[in-house]
Symmetry: C2
Subunit: 347 residues, 2 copies
Amino acid sequence: MMVDIVSTPPQQRAAVILRHARTLCEPVLREAIRTLPEPMSTMAGYHFGWWDTAGSPVHAAGGKALRPALTLGAALACGARAHDAVPAAVAVELVHNFTLLHDDIIDTDRTRRGRPTVWAVWGSADAILLGDALHALAMRVLVAGLPDTVAAAAVARLSGAVVDMCIGQHLDTGFDAGTQHADTSEYVRMATGKTGALMGCAAALGALCAGADGATVSTLECFGRELGLAFQFIDDLMGIWGDPAVTGKPADDLARRSMSLPVIAALESGTPAARELAALYRTEGRAGSIDSTRAAALVEAAGGRRSAQEFADRRVRSAIAAISVLPDRDAAGDLIALAQLASHRER
Amino acid sequence: MMVDIVSTPPQQRAAVILRHARTLCEPVLREAIRTLPEPMSTMAGYHFGWWDTAGSPVHAAGGKALRPALTLGAALACGARAHDAVPAAVAVELVHNFTLLHDDIIDTDRTRRGRPTVWAVWGSADAILLGDALHALAMRVLVAGLPDTVAAAAVARLSGAVVDMCIGQHLDTGFDAGTQHADTSEYVRMATGKTGALMGCAAALGALCAGADGATVSTLECFGRELGLAFQFIDDLMGIWGDPAVTGKPADDLARRSMSLPVIAALESGTPAARELAALYRTEGRAGSIDSTRAAALVEAAGGRRSAQEFADRRVRSAIAAISVLPDRDAAGDLIALAQLASHRER
């Protein structure tokens, strides 16, 4: 589907695109999950928000389906039907969720989308195994749903993205543990792996499904990667100033001394506020949490908030510039709406 | 290569086959590992026994390369050259090792092949991520090294095997935690997932690489799965009566109250020894270890040792029977030698 880009405001347009992506992908995703043996299938459906821990249907929040929407939007932008790219979109969503399962263990995050994480319910052994199973399932969905040549190229790109994401998560863990020096360029490298790689791959796979040439696939990958970085930087802002009732996540990045972009940019500023922030992060023992209201004021005073917003805006412009070379600008409307969402999102 | 099956004793023949599989696969495996960004590459090479934790070359024990040998042997049995199946053999070895990395975390095993496990050296976060990266790398090796049609079929089978392995490991963890009732038929179901699935897939992939028809691929899969079960059952015997100096693993299954096949078969025997063994496993608190000399005597008295050996022998015969339908019996020589190894192995 394509939304009339002129008459609809950006957020509403993007909401329609995301909802449509969920509508197209969810049946295929559910079908794939159903092939998993129990108890994997129940655990997976709980994670996706379809049912409770016992398997009784609930209406919990699932993901936004941003990555599937990127895949479908990229296919449209390259002249195909969204339908042709559904297996790729579902595979990307499966990989995204496999990494969430593993990252939640690694980060010891007990809550996701307002509910206990899988490892918090079933233990980390089963959460590791469920992540591995969803990773495998992603590859199966690609080869089962796409012509062999497209599937082979898609498996190569999606596997490459997984490796990049592993490195991104490794770097991220190092920042938070203080074993990895954090400056903004290292942070961008981390985010390129952790978020940019899969968003880039999501868009590239849409182009591949449309039979696009190599240069076009690269263009779409670049678009997705830049947009992924923008979303990560906005995520970081919401981890400090977001409304938990809207985002579904606690805005506790500062309380947890997380090294996110606004913090790193603030610390790099050389201002008195930066020095006070550094002292606040250092003191009070690693175990306890810190005064996050004071820390947020310091990040803002040191220019960290403005800087992170500028980083995000620059990436959105760069994403839109990347796809300006596509021959059919109208066909890229959904992608542009998704890019604009990054500048206006609340969750 | 094919070893003269008449004049060489089984163990020596299998040793030559395994060594040859390592020789063919290791360069491709090293090349694949080299593509991983640091520190993943160093961690992976440490796991494979190529270097120490700092990356300095050592000659530590790697794996036996049983699965790659199965893949290459299956390709030969189906009339192809071993060379044609090397990417598939390497992919199978990567998947095997990714699951070892994750299983070591899940089982909190601190030692593998006589050295500290990756999670014991680098922590479980990095070990989870390295496992994920090797899993992804396996799929990349398939699509990079095989024609698209073969690669797509291979990705589907290898991903299916990963899902089966996840369920097998889940059941195994349940046995040891006492949350899953253990009888021999449940145990065989667990082992079919944990060990049989990947060995079956290893052989099936060799057949796929040889361009074999569907029925032949299934025949080879059946061979590999049965052989995998035999190896698992012998592993269980060695976990009680093996020589750690030969196997590289401590023979501490009983001390750790592991629910392996000899133990389960013993407990099912209804003998006085079974009752005493059950009492021994129950008492002394879950934390402490038990008198493993006494436990081994009880397992043997209850017939558990003999029963596990019979289970293994039956699977070897079933494996050999499966491939008796292949048109060229001579070409299957390497597979038969590997099957005979299962009855004569010490490590």
